[in-house]
Symmetry: C2
Subunit: 317 residues, 2 copies
């Protein structure tokens, strides 16, 4: 039985300044969702930490001030209207947010919600960049390791609903997309569509590093294209972009096919919707029986033990 195509949208966001009230951010998310639905999208992907500014750029020592950036429940008071509108539109969505658990643990989290409002999957970011201790004398920090615990849910693939053709879905968050291990853990579960939100610095806001937005956008896109190809999966990668509270974020949101080809690409650093129609049978060119990435036929796990037996580099003498 042939599977229906799935129309997906990437809802890139421009910056969300610290001073922006939640009601305004929610209105932007809902407007993006409505645009996506109007263009036929059945699933819309929002960025990492889509509800707030990228607050790990500051050292926040007051617990109450820090926890104001976190959601205690999703849906909750600050997100319910988005869930309501999605259900009215019959559209699913991926949403990144800062999660505060009942027992006080904090994670950088994403969920995927089905067209009927059901929670399909939840993921907690495994590869937290930055540092635990603030870097002295620097205006901008990257304190994800301070504010979040590493994800403890592994890389849990899950299926979309019948109306989407029951594709195997996976979620990653931002820096995860640069780690082939993360993709492969999903690839081994047969992922057909990877959903990714990100906030990636366009340059060093402290001026200490020469990399510019062009190379950082190239690295983001390269990571998504190559890992999609290696795992014969579609991928949607979505930025929060532009100058946010004085620090630049790359855009470059893309929808990529299992050949690593770009189906749609954002052109701005603002709120912008891109869409593509996905035919999941295209995954078979890479992964079908006897093909290049028929993992059962070609992978040699006995040779890969170093990947799980050490974290850091151990060069030869």
């Amino acid at each position: 039985m042939s599977r229906p195509p799935l129309t997906v949208a990437a809802a890139q966001m421009g910056p969300t300044q610290r001073a922006e009230p939640r009601s305004r951010t929610l209105a932007r998310l809902i407007a993006l969702m409505e645009q996506a639905a109007a263009r036929g999208a059945q699933l819309v992907v929002f960025p990492e930490l889509a509800l707030t500014t990228f607050f790990p750029r500051w050292l926040i020592e007051d617990r109450e001030e820090l926890e104001a950036y976190f959601e205690r429940a999703v849906p909750g008071p600050g997100t319910q209207p988005l869930f309501d509108r999605a259900r009215e539109l019959g559209i699913g969505f991926y949403l990144g947010f800062a999660e505060l658990t009942e027992d006080g643990r904090r994670f950088n989290t994403a969920i995927t919600v089905g067209p009927d409002g059901a929670l399909l999957g939840k993921y907690r970011k495994v590869h937290l960049p930055g540092s635990f201790e603030p870097r002295p004398g620097q205006r901008f920090q990257q304190l994800e390791k301070r504010y979040f615990e590493p994800g403890d849910l592994g890389f849990p693939a899950f299926r979309g609903p019948q109306a989407w053709g029951r594709p195997v879905l996976g979620m990653l968050i931002c820096n995860d997309r640069r780690w082939p291990e993360a993709w492969r853990c999903y690839g081994l579960q047969g992922v057909e569509l990877m959903l990714i939100g990100y906030n990636s610095a366009a340059y060093d806001p402290n001026g200490g590093d020469a990399e510019d937005a062009a190379i950082r956008t190239f690295h983001s896109t390269l990571s998504v294209r190559a890992n999609a190809y290696f795992n014969a999966t579609f991928a949607v990668a979505v930025a929060k972009a532009g100058v946010e509270d004085g620090a630049g974020l790359i855009g470059g949101s893309v929808i990529v096919d299992p050949n690593g080809m770009i189906l749609a690409e954002a052109r701005t650093l603002e709120d912008e919707v891109i869409t593509a129609q996905l035919d999941f049978s295209a995954c078979l060119q890479g992964r079908g029986p006897g093909k290049m990435f028929d993992f059962a036929l070609h992978r040699r796990p006995d040779q890969y033990r170093r990947i799980v037996e050490q974290a850091g580099m151990t060069p030869p003498p």
Copy 2:
């Protein structure tokens, strides 16, 4: 103490027809090596199975006929002049060849030889594509799984000599370059320069698959660029190219930096030398302390167990 730059060459080969005598192939290899040396190269990388046509495209049932494609010793009668000339020139080289061991085992092998003729490293291809059984009724086969055992040496990184700045070197062969596991096993040993030879079909010579040379060359280059970036390493990937015994091979030999940027790229499907000068300090932008790919800081091996615990895909129900 700052390390000297290393000038490397990729010596792409045009096709080597079945009827070409070894003396002719050796003369081509030596000519390429001389060109590389004349352009200042200290290390030249030749393709996979550089001494013969890509014989796994045929079912060869006669043992003697098959073993004629294999080297019993390297250097040996059919390769000694290349070793001699390399030593005269003071140039190191990577050479791919079919290896027949004393006890009759067969591998798809590469070695790297230092500027003084010393064997620096040896690698046996882990990811053998194709099939063991011939596909009935097809003019061209891909029988690497029949003619070779999977490599049994792991992914053994090694150091180059003092004159090269003692870089950590790794070797892969052809299809290996598409497997991020293989690169990561070297990345975890601190590889700074990956050497790769390949013979990759430009299209399905039996006409059953629509992929063309453009997309296959894109996939080859994408694999090298992305994995070089993910592991903050330079890479040299070198084709045997052109129409060989009626079957097309892609070219697209490249030298890539740790940002995934192309430093040099072959333009033909013929014998062609490209060179680049490598500054190994460029690896530190990716892997230095606190950087994006500071593995010890950011990798989470406890989350990657699926990579070694299963070979094939196991989708969710």
